[in-house]
Symmetry: D2
Subunit: 338 residues, 4 copies
């Protein structure tokens, strides 16, 4: 952290800063320039310190020079993290395809979909048993009954399952059934929940908050990592902008950025990222071309009868088309499909 | 809800829609225009239905004509909701001032602040015992010990207290101490938590999510109201935009909008809304001028030593200046200060 | 400007930077810390230099420590700029009210409005003769004929006039009629036009671009100031966010920020800032409470028949109500109405 | 357009609407529902009409049902527009690569770059002679001298040239040299300039405004088309969001959306879209995978010495790598490289 003083700052201001640093257990290295004095802060700092120093008398600006996240950074670990789920490896050379319905609605809907996505090349089955919904009057999922259906679908197809956990009290129960725990966009900063999945012995897929910066996203990953769970997967699913044509604006550039600054695998979710089924294919291809380690795609036997998010779901035919198109883009960027 | 067909739609498309509506238990009123056919949907609809209908063959667009929130709307209740907390009435003619430190840090810090804000005219004491923090390495609050200090401050000063609850498992415990439960911006869509505070017998102040639309905010209020708790207070605290000078962009226009579309009281939080203490005063005055029912202001004995959010906190002097300035703006818009 | 090197940077990287600085005519002051080396750059820098230095080998980050705008900053001029237009002073103790129709539509519409706004207390008459319109099929203004009507309205009422100029080729002609030249939001970065009004001998009111940061806005003001025209007025008119209830989100906090960092007067335009007439009053009061030097309000004899922006226009009655309400808020913040 | 009345609306409100429609030369088709009355508006409407009707007494909402742009829509022309520039066809099966420096700086810099990008497979040479710059103190381009250098580069390499025109007064001069006129992001709503290039006999590439919706962008294209110039190319270059890691957020989903709603070709500019050279490659591949008709890439012999936008420019080596990587993605999505 660098503290830049105003031109008009005096020795008292400098002493004031050095006092504060001492109280924080930090050391200040003073560097007097022609026009200004700058102090380098050495020791264990934290994000709020910046704001605190910035309001001291005489201080013009405080500049953080090391990133606030550590365990998720490439500086901390230079090689890519890979995560093993059954015989699927997430984050390696091979692209991972997660697919399934937004919400588990019935045994028939789920089994039918599980078989279809497996046949079309998916590696992991997705399906929500607990659904966050903006309105209290909407469908909120089948609960544990849905988890049991997911386990049954795994039994039959051999596909590992990923499903969302909404609240700390449910982590243990959901972890009993799921192979990967999913943290949804609205819970990216539900820190108690992050702590809790950080203690679970299961991989966690952390969706980006719809208005979260990349740094905040990595800090949320840090919560999970700091509890000792190093099996974290990131998932880009679109951010909120002024554009109203799409439900969200898929931030495809987040993919190569994550690859550069972090060692964690990253999955793209073009279904939520766009909100429209006819945009899912193009954005899926784009995400792979940009370096994503995999995709999460919503598939439903009858999207127009889906209880949740029908308009962004592919049906079996369009999903099959996508997986076959995908193969050539995957190999064009030097990756593989299983 | 109105379903507008494309010019090129045919009778089969219309029948398809009517079938779907029948399955949903809804009725479609068909109106054939010169160029297009439009169908009015009558019955109990829900937000996701719009998306579902929009993807049917031949459909151009679906237009919701009634708002998705009900209990929070002025149509449902034309008069203003007022909430009684001790002898403070929130939402009436008199402006409510909530003030105190961002986080409870120690007995001395809290007692000193409680006395100072009371002396300066505050009606309710704020203070966080459980703090959400973007980084796992930052201060996360004193927990129940902090709640006890708040209760002690209430004992001494007579000020009712408002404090944040972060997770469903804590609601009962926090409600034992607090007079008002606060739901923070990151939890605006933590629906399980909303359900839980909806069951509590305490007023709830719901902060706007930093990227939530006004409609989503009211839908979150709806969760609490739908559980039977009608004591809901809204709090505008700034939204996320491209501007980087301020931490958030305080959406002052949300204040008169809420007043128009809802009967719930609305409080403005210029401390979080701006993130800089020297903007708190101007935005506090602006919020009152725009019609807010009250203010929530961060005050700390030594902002430069605060463990959380020091740069946006007023000290005792600047808080006193604000409350005295406030009086004339309050009466300029026909409201009162106690 | 401070250049922060990576921990892994070597002497060659440092030499590379010093070479670049030399070529730019700048001097680098080297400061070697425990973990990193930091170089302070002294001399006349420019915004793009930052990006250039940031891509040099070994460089972690470049931090600008002086603001890129100069003439518009409070550091350059500590006292408030005031601008004299006839007997109206903009930027002093007295609040300035500019009002009139969005577009000049006819002699009768303009004269009637001019008389009404004058009677209600306006000091300057606004009216567009050249209108930017998102669609080529919409009304684009009366052109010079509209300017002549504005001049005629000034003749009759004595109110100075403000009107928009859209393109460099029109500056001379518009300046012949107008007392203040207005640069619209879509032209905030039309740099050729800024140069041109910078050469005119008339005050210029520069609206904030709908997605411009405060720094970019001040840099656009800098264009005008740098040409020698020191009579610049800023106008906040709302920014683009994800919220769809309002046309724009009025950034009320920009008002005290401008007052802090710049000496230029600032006017608030709640008509464009909200896009809804029933929000104009509350946001006008809020803007004054936050420190604005004046208001620009759209007024139309029959808003529901207006050719442009009817829904955000007040009629004569609601405008009169606003100006009378305004007086008490103005005095509550220690300002005056003429 | 559909006008939806409130439940509480009465016959007088309906008559009021019908009167307004009559005055506008429009016809209203009344449809009385169980709860509400809806009126379909037939005839030549315009965007502002919506707002005007929305404020009439008793009106709840006005819904536009036809898109405000016409000539640029797929409904107007179902086949893809292709544009011939020398022997390059933009918008057909073959991908077009435009490359060159952000700004023309010298004969040597331009010639060297022109030869290098040609050798690496580029089809069109880009280079700015007139540069918009946020600060008046920055480099603003070589002007006509730069245009002459571009013409000389075309002479030598055979590459057609694209260059930006900033102001209506320059269109004729720039068109004398350029093969394609470029309208920059800050001028997307410079309507006088759009009119002027609409009258030119040269293709125009229209960049998306950094805060423009897709609809506004197509309305700006409409200005050019409406003047009779049908050779319009769209260019996605990133939009402004809260994310600060990238200069802009490249809206990759805009590519398949444009392909769906419009017949105009679309080019992706990942250099401006990201602002960082190491993101250019991944986003270029992503854009092609998403369906773009071509790319615009900044290339500079020495990015660290560039006068403009060095950090987002590729050098000759990285550009060559990109074009060779590109070939396999292009063929993976069934397109061709020349």
């Amino acid at each position: 952290m660098l503290v830049v003083f105003k031109r008009t700052a005096n020795e008292g201001d400098l002493d004031g800063l050095l006092d504060v640093l001492k109280r924080e257990g930090l050391v200040g290295h003073v560097s007097r320039g022609v026009e200004r004095t700058v102090v380098g802060v050495v020791g264990q700092t934290y994000p709020e310190l910046r704001d605190k120093l910035e309001m001291l008398s005489g201080v013009e600006e405080v500049i953080p020079i090391s990133k606030p996240y550590k365990l998720s950074s490439r500086e901390f670990q230079s090689w890519n993290t890979t995560i093993q789920v059954g015989d699927v490896t997430i984050g390696g050379e091979v692209i991972t395809i997660m697919a399934g319905p937004c919400a588990v609605e019935s045994e028939m809907q789920l089994m039918e979909t599980a078989r279809a996505v497996k046949a079309a090349g998916a590696h992991i089955l997705r399906g929500g048993a607990f659904k966050p919904s903006t309105s209290p009057y909407s469908f909120r999922g089948m609960g544990e009954k849905g988890l049991k259906l997911l386990a049954q679908a795994r039994e039959e197809t051999g596909l590992p399952i990923i499903t969302e956990v909404l609240t700390p009290g449910d982590v243990e129960m959901v972890a009993k059934y799921a192979d990967i725990l999913q943290i949804g966009t609205r819970n990216m900063q539900n820190f108690i929940l992050l702590d809790e999945v950080g203690k679970a012995q299961k991989p966690v897929m952390l969706k980006r908050g719809m208005s979260a910066t990349i740094e905040e996203w990595l800090l949320s990953a840090e919560y999970i990592l700091a509890q000792g769970n190093r099996q974290v997967i990131l998932c880009e699913r679109g951010i909120r902008t002024f554009e109203t044509y799409t439900r969200n604006t898929m931030d495809v550039s987040a993919i190569p950025i994550i690859k550069k600054v972090s060692h964690l695998p990253i999955i793209a979710d073009p279904s939520h990222g766009t909100g429209k089924w006819y945009l899912v294919g193009p954005l899926a291809l784009a995400s792979i071309a940009a370096g994503a380690d995999g995709l999460m795609i919503e598939v439903h036997p009858n999207p127009d009868k889906a209880l949740k998010d029908g308009p962004q779901s592919l049906n079996f035919d369009t999903f099959r088309q996508l997986t076959s198109q995908l193969a050539s883009v995957v190999s064009a960027v030097g990756r593989k499909v299983r």
